[in-house]
């Protein structure tokens, strides 16, 4: 058996939380419940923060607003990190080796289920 990451893309600005879309994901989730190992919904890219560390472990941490979107670097994986706030998450992100070999983009996970987003 192998594990695959299914990365979900939509045009910027589309509403991923429309009731219709949620229903479709519900249908998929039920059908695929045996194979799904985890899933999160993300807030839009406007909430993204990009972190890089200069030099190597413990180097200067650079924090910038926005997602990291450059064709020169490719998505290689992801960690799900639970943190009290963005500063704590940045602290962890700056320790991920990719922060000095490439970039780490932090995207807050939005709560799914329940009424309020």
């Amino acid at each position: 058996m192998a594990v695959y990451a299914a990365l979900l893309y939509l045009p910027e600005g589309s509403d991923s939380m429309m009731p219709e879309v949620r229903k479709e994901h519900g249908v998929f989730g039920a059908a695929a419940s045996e194979v799904i190992r985890g899933a999160v919904a993300l807030y839009p890219t406007g909430s993204a923060t990009t972190i890089t560390v200069a030099g190597g472990p413990g180097g200067d941490v650079m924090v910038t607003d926005g997602p990291y979107a450059e064709a020169k670097e490719i998505l290689i994986g992801l960690y799900l990190i639970e943190a009290a706030d963005l500063d704590e998450a940045i602290g962890w992100a700056a320790r991920i080796p990719t922060a000095w070999r490439g970039k780490v983009e932090l995207r807050p996970v939005r709560p799914i289920g329940g009424g309020a987003s």
């Binding site: 500063d87 932090l106 807050p108």
Partner: protein, 418 residues
Amino acid sequence: MTPEEQLAETIRREGARVLATLIRTLGSLQLAEDAVQDAAVAALQTWPRDGIPGDPRAWLAVTARHKAYDALRREAVRPGKELASAGGVAPVVPDPVPEVLELVEPDSVVRDDQLRLVFTCCHPALAREAQVALALRTLAGLDVAAIARGFLVPEATMAKRLTRARQKIAQARIPYRVPSDAELPARLASVLAVVHLIATESHAPSAGEQVTRVDLEAEAARLARLLAELMPGEPEVLSLLALLLFTAARRPARVDVAGDPVPLADQDRSRWDHAAIGEASALLAEAVRRSQGVAGSYQLQAHLSACHSTAQAYRDTDWDRIVTLYDLLLSRSANPAVALNRAVAVGERDGPAAGLAALDAITGMTRSHLWHAGRAEALRGLGRTGQAREALRQALELAPTAPERRLLTRRLTEMSPP
């Protein structure tokens, strides 16, 4: 100040203080801003009739808190309605006990809350233009229309920028907290950069007709004053305030009656605000005392500004000290604009040939009208009038504002052969 202006000023100043605390207690920037806005409207309706209350902040705080709870109750009874722009978790709406609603926070709590707000607004995870807009909206208490005018963008654009910033704060959970000692230097640098940017935008608007947009210069000084109140022990905060005061003190002489810029050499120094220069000098001395021999970059810039502000006449300017200060600044970080100013100072100290050589040694400035204008001045000093005129023409082509273009045109006319 007219009574109306004084009233508006009181509402704005105290409203900003009330806002800082309300953000902490409500956990939502949007909700707190709306509540303070509602309280300000109520104050504008009742105060002119009944007079300004004895404790205007307490009045605004209590009114804003009532408005916030009204809004929360309205939201709570609308099923399925999310606090969209507030983001995050919908707050639980307890029935507030009257004592909580009427509570008036002591000054120390308000100061701590304002300091939190300073660092949240200037958090590095927000884009610089969002930091600037948030600082002016929440810390300075400017309305969206005024901020939009200050930056020459449509009001809708500025409103959208603020909404996005509030959303990011809520969704990414940017904390409402003063950074730890370890994080403080980097985070403070970001705060100071925001205030400095507001000031420089007012000195050199990148487009438009006016030479100086007084509003933003005053707003930057107001914010720097707030920072100095909140962090009196930080030398770079004092230096930034000194720098802004030195620059603002020259404002009365910086433009002529036609609204055109007057170069430093030609300014009537008796029209400078010498009281402000005195205050700035005292602040700078305090910054030097507190920095224990390690001058930050704002301290160096304040020293530079002091060199100009305290020279009796242009010919008395200590150009040697100015070149040394620019060298120190450049040793911290290479910056073409600083190199340009240094080259001009070298020309004043060592003559036009040295100035021209220093200017020509700077790379990447061929798109700057100031670089071409500096070269024109040096070439004129060397008697190379033809080349000077050509440099002025290039400066004229690149100058971003109409008053600057008028100044350059005048120089060009003066330099034309009889």
